[in-house]
């Protein structure tokens, strides 16, 4: 489900089934050299999480990306997000990111780090199949966590 008003009504009535939160972590790098790759990573991450939501709509709640600047203190951010997530009744929380710095932050569990693939030059069908390949790598991680 998406984090929108309509889906929240359904979420509130089906909380025992929707037990997994997915939080995309998105780095905003506006330096001239980082701008384009930051935008590409954002596109990739949002396409992937949208596909994931379509597959697992009835079990995950997809949050809007948590966006932070490139100099942000990841450790402090991790503590703040995980504290907030504990206020909701999720059994599993997944964080998805393309930002490599999260690999050295161990305050968060279940951080799925994926290298961003630039998709801007792909035509629609090719992009679709690339993203589905990416999704197929992520799905088993969810199934494993659930079982």
């Amino acid at each position: 489900m998406h984090f929108i008003g309509k889906d929240m009504d359904q979420y509130l009535s089906q909380q025992e089934y929707v037990d997994t939160a997915v939080v995309p972590l998105l780095e905003l790098d506006l330096s001239p050299s980082g701008l384009k790759s930051s935008a590409g990573a954002s596109e990739y991450l949002q396409s992937l999480t949208a596909l994931l939501e379509k597959q697992f709509r009835g079990r995950i709640l997809l949050f809007p990306p948590v966006t932070y600047t490139s100099g942000a203190d990841r450790v402090r951010l991790a503590e703040e997000i995980s504290t907030e997530m504990k206020r909701a009744a999720f059994k599993h929380v997944f964080y998805m990111t393309t930002d490599a710095e999260w690999r050295s932050v161990d305050q968060l569990e279940n951080v799925l780090w994926l290298p961003a693939i630039p998709t801007e030059h792909m035509d629609r069908n090719f992009k679709q199949s690339v993203m589905e390949d990416q999704l197929r790598q992520v799905l088993p991680l969810f199934i494993k966590e659930w079982s």
């Binding site: 089934y17 379509k54 597959q55 709509r57 009835g58």
Partner: protein, 167 residues
Amino acid sequence: MSNNRVSRRQFLGYTLTGVGGFMAAGMLMPMVRFAVDPVLQQKGGGDFVLTDQRAEDVTEEPVRVDFTFEQTDAWYVSEVTNSAWVYRDGDILIALSPVCKHLGCTVNWAGDPEKPNQFFCPCHAGRYEKNGLNVPGTPPLGPLDQYEVEEQDGYVAIGAIKLNTLV
């Protein structure tokens, strides 16, 4: 010079009738147009979307067929790709929606290795028979929806969604 000359009075009469007629038509036309508007509205549903799946390649084993159409969400127009599970039953094509009737996850054919002849929903282990009938005892409460489907120039075309008519 012709014999039946138009008098000034007649000329003014004709001219005023003509101009008045145009003015009356100018007012009445939009009103009539508004009144009959529901008849002129184009119907959105019922269109078939051509896929790139060859109809003759469809067997009794369900295959996933993707189809793309434009969706307007308020002011935001986007291309949406949906899929359907298409298989052949005798001579007729059958297309089932992959959306689980429990909470809307995407179901897969033979997604559970232990049940190779059923649709499986990975979210809460819902299962469906090949015709879309939900297996009792699993979370889904109804059968999978069905798509209108037809063959166009040798390719599968997917139409409107409807309630399952097979079970």
